[in-house]
């Protein structure tokens, strides 16, 4: 007979205001197996944990039930406490009487009854718990970083500096990401390239970092410590070993018709190209859709001019299999498509541009060599209107319900840059709210108003009417109630950020979840912001939600620290709640092996003596290191020969019975 101790937490008033603790304590005393019960205000506190530890020792408890908050919150806390008191941690069960009871019910009587019922189920299950001992599995001491923007670069550098190999996979021909496109960065107005390119070079020079540019992760299998990944290296059509990055091919290529992705379509590039001069690696790529050689078979100029013979038109996609201990996802963000915002004329008028295009227009290395002019006629603008919240905080189907977070700051920055370059040019900013939470952010925005004379207007723009060579901006000043018309030369739209369109596919590949806006979901919004629900996979940067550079870098270093935490271990402790086979019952049909998502079940032959006869037959065998404990196999097994430790058939049936009493 097991000796069960039940500990009931008040959680301050979180539980006790809806659940009558005294009644629960009284009911618990009558539950089969229960020899001790205790309630306390904060069971998770040190005092509370000590109550558990002391009771285990004093009352020789063999099973423990804690009725408190969700096991997702404090199961590990109480398991550690049980372990400290000498009890196998897996002999402890949690009854979730906060999230699943006191917080969702108002009727005190009903909530109390339910709390009793949930506790009873936990007691019934706990009685059937078995001591479990986690196994160990080796760790591949190498990390994979998916996405080579500032988040990926920072993560890779931090992990590599800690002494571990890192593979950095970037989809485009160069690392650098969105930050490489920026001109200046808020709130200090230092040059983006000046702070980013050294990091890009560091990453490329680091002996522990391998950059796979123009590559994509195609397949991910395995689990924390042992991810098996297939990386597709897209055919670059250039031999990376031979190329010296001299750039002759770029200059000589006759097919200069494609719009430059890096320049946001504001200039053209050749079919053979490096996205930007500081690209890392500084090796071009042939865009096969634009290249005359690939389209017609004729040309081949680049091959002729290449001094090292690095051009290889026959190159094919290659696939690389690699094992990793941890994966960090840093796939970044995109701007939304503005097609449905017809009133702003973005698609129809060249002088209506996005913030990112503005960055390129003011950049010294940009398409206008830093001369800020209207894209349409290359004239200097005299009046520029900035519109914030284009698609952000937008509940309609056109936009995104969230705040894109960076627009208030970069719009202030843009307006300042404009006023700095052309003090005679007027700047108007339409805003709904200005949000400048962040170190030095408010001061920065106020500087735009107070020192740079930027006109901030609380209100929105209804429509833009292109009239002559002007853009008539019809807006409102909501504070005064005056309807405004501004003859602008240029309009800059702070378009909303969004998750990468392929994010949900990446999520599926990695078995990590995405939220309704397709941003990756962190394991806990407050306490585990860089972890995912999948152990060993971490998040950094704007793929998890809109973020500015300081936050992204902070998160990148945090994710790196988490990954290093895994890589620094030679062995990882397994989840002991894995499947096991009762060989005497197993019929060897191997249905379990067919559904196991981890191929953790294999077959073996056994010989059994039955009624004096030797029978040779197949049975299933679980590899505990591979099994992740989903329990799917147990259901394929009709006779119940394979069962899941910690969630056994008997335990769940006992819970069902108890909950139905």
């Amino acid at each position: 007979m097991q000796r069960v101790g039940v500990f009931i937490c008040w959680c301050g008033t979180n539980i006790s205001s809806t659940v009558n603790i005294d009644e629960v304590v009284a009911a618990v005393k009558n539950m089969p197996g229960v020899v001790y019960s205790k309630d306390y205000q904060y069971m998770c506190s040190e005092v509370g944990q000590n109550l558990v530890k002391d009771a285990i020792k004093e009352h020789n408890l063999t099973r423990v039930v804690v009725a408190a908050c969700s096991p997702r919150m404090h199961e590990s806390t109480f398991r550690k406490a049980a372990k400290a008191a000498g009890l196998n941690p897996y002999l402890l069960e949690i009854a979730n009487i906060r999230e699943h009871c006191s917080w969702v019910h108002k009727d005190k009587k009903a909530a109390t009854q339910k709390a009793i019922s949930l506790t009873k189920a936990a007691v019934a299950k706990a009685i059937l718990n078995q001591p479990l001992i986690p196994g160990e599995v080796g760790v591949e001491q190498r990390a994979l970083v998916i996405g080579g923007g500032i988040a990926g670069i920072q993560t890779a550098l931090d992990i590599a500096d800690a002494g571990y190999e890192v593979d950095l996979v970037e989809k485009t021909p160069s690392i650098g990401g969105k930050m490489a496109q920026l001109d200046k960065t808020f709130p200090t107005l230092d040059c983006s390239a000046c702070i980013l390119t050294p990091k890009m070079v560091d990453a490329s020079m680091h002996d522990k970092i391998n950059i796979y540019s123009y590559s994509e992760v195609e397949e991910v299998n395995g689990f924390v410590g042992n991810f098996e990944v297939v990386i597709k290296q897209k055919a670059r059509s250039i031999d990376m070993e031979k190329c010296t990055g001299c750039g002759i091919c770029l200059a000589k290529c006759p097919a200069k018709t494609a719009l430059s992705e890096f320049e946001e379509g504001l200039s053209k590039r050749a079919a053979i190209y490096t996205p930007f001069p500081q690209a890392v690696p500084n090796v071009p790529v042939i865009d096969r859709e634009t290249c005359t050689k690939f389209r017609t078979g004729k040309c081949g100029v680049c091959a002729k001019v290449c001094p090292t013979g690095a051009i290889d038109y026959e190159q094919k996609d290659e696939r690389l299999n690699q094992k990793y201990g941890a994966i960090i996802v840093t796939t970044g963000y995109d701007l939304i498509n503005l097609d449905s915002f017809g009133e702003y004329q973005y698609a129809d008028h060249p002088d209506v541009i996005t913030g990112l295009e503005f960055e390129r227009l003011v950049n010294a290395a940009g398409p206008t060599a830093g001369k800020l002019v209207r894209p349409s006629d290359k004239k200097k603008p005299k009046k520029v209107v900035f519109i914030q919240c284009v698609g952000s905080r937008d509940k309609s189907e056109r936009g995104k319900s969230y705040c894109s977070k960076i627009c208030c700051m970069y719009t202030a920055k843009h307006a300042m840059l404009l006023r700095d370059k052309y003090p005679d040019c007027e700047a108007y900013v339409f805003y709904i709210d200005v949000r400048t939470a962040g170190k030095g952010f408010e001061e920065f925005q106020r500087r735009a108003v107070e020192n740079y004379g930027v006109n901030y207007i609380k209100g929105m723009v209804g429509k833009i009417f292109p009239t002559g060579d002007k853009l008539k901006v019809n807006g409102v000043d909501a504070l005064s109630g005056e309807v405004l018309e501004i003859d602008a030369d240029m309009v800059v739209l702070a378009s909303a950020t969004q998750a990468k369109p392929g994010a949900s596919d990446v999520g599926r590949m990695l078995s990590i979840s995405t939220d309704r806006d397709n941003f990756f979901t962190e394991a806990h919004p407050k306490l585990r912001p860089v972890e995912t629900h999948c152990a060993g996979i971490y998040l950094a940067g704007a793929c998890q939600g809109p973020k500015d550079i300081p936050e992204t870098v902070a998160q990148a270093s945090a994710a790196a620290a988490k990954a290093i935490g895994i890589l620094s271990k030679s062995k990882l402790v397994n989840n002991p709640c894995v499947s096991q086979v009762d060989e005497s019952v197993c019929s060897g049909c191997l249905a379990c092996t067919k559904m196991c998502p981890y191929e953790a079940i294999t077959e073996k032959m056994v010989e059994q003596k039955v009624h004096g006869k030797i029978r040779r037959r197949r049975v299933a065998e679980v590899n505990a290191a591979l099994c992740q404990g989903c329990g799917g196999c147990t259901v394929t097994c009709r006779p119940g020969a394979i069962d899941l430790k910690g969630f056994s058939n008997k335990q769940i049936l006992a819970e069902v019975d108890a909950i139905c009493q």
Binding site: H105, C630, L653, C660
Partner: protein, 154 residues
Amino acid sequence: MSVIANNAAVKNAQAFEPLIVAFCCNWCSYAGADLAGTSRLNYPANIKIIRVPCSCRVNANFVLRAFQRGADGVIIAGCHPGDCHYMTGNYYTRRRFSLLKNLLAYVGIEEARFKVDWISASEGNKFADVMNGVLEKVHKLGPNRKLRDSRWRR
């Protein structure tokens, strides 16, 4: 039967408090239920949750056992297809319980009493909605007698 007992029976019938057993996968639906809690959403106390690692851990035995033991409705909630923490577990759940649901309906169990749904960790609202929806339908149907073990006292 005495008049008093009879009255009590009538009263009991009026105060029908359904019992709904919900099997929730640890990673999505259980977390969704936690979110419903942290968001202080409201759903009736008649719904009681049993945690399973994955919706594919739920055996048809568990569902029938719940009905045997007096449950008026049973819910299985897992991650959305494609979002399974164990990659593919819920695809099997989908097949297994599509068939079981049809089989239960075929032998005359009202369809509203057995529900499978996909609730992600971020869908606290959906969790409350699904639970309220099932409860409402089960309430209309009244207590379940089918499959119920006559010896079991709830």
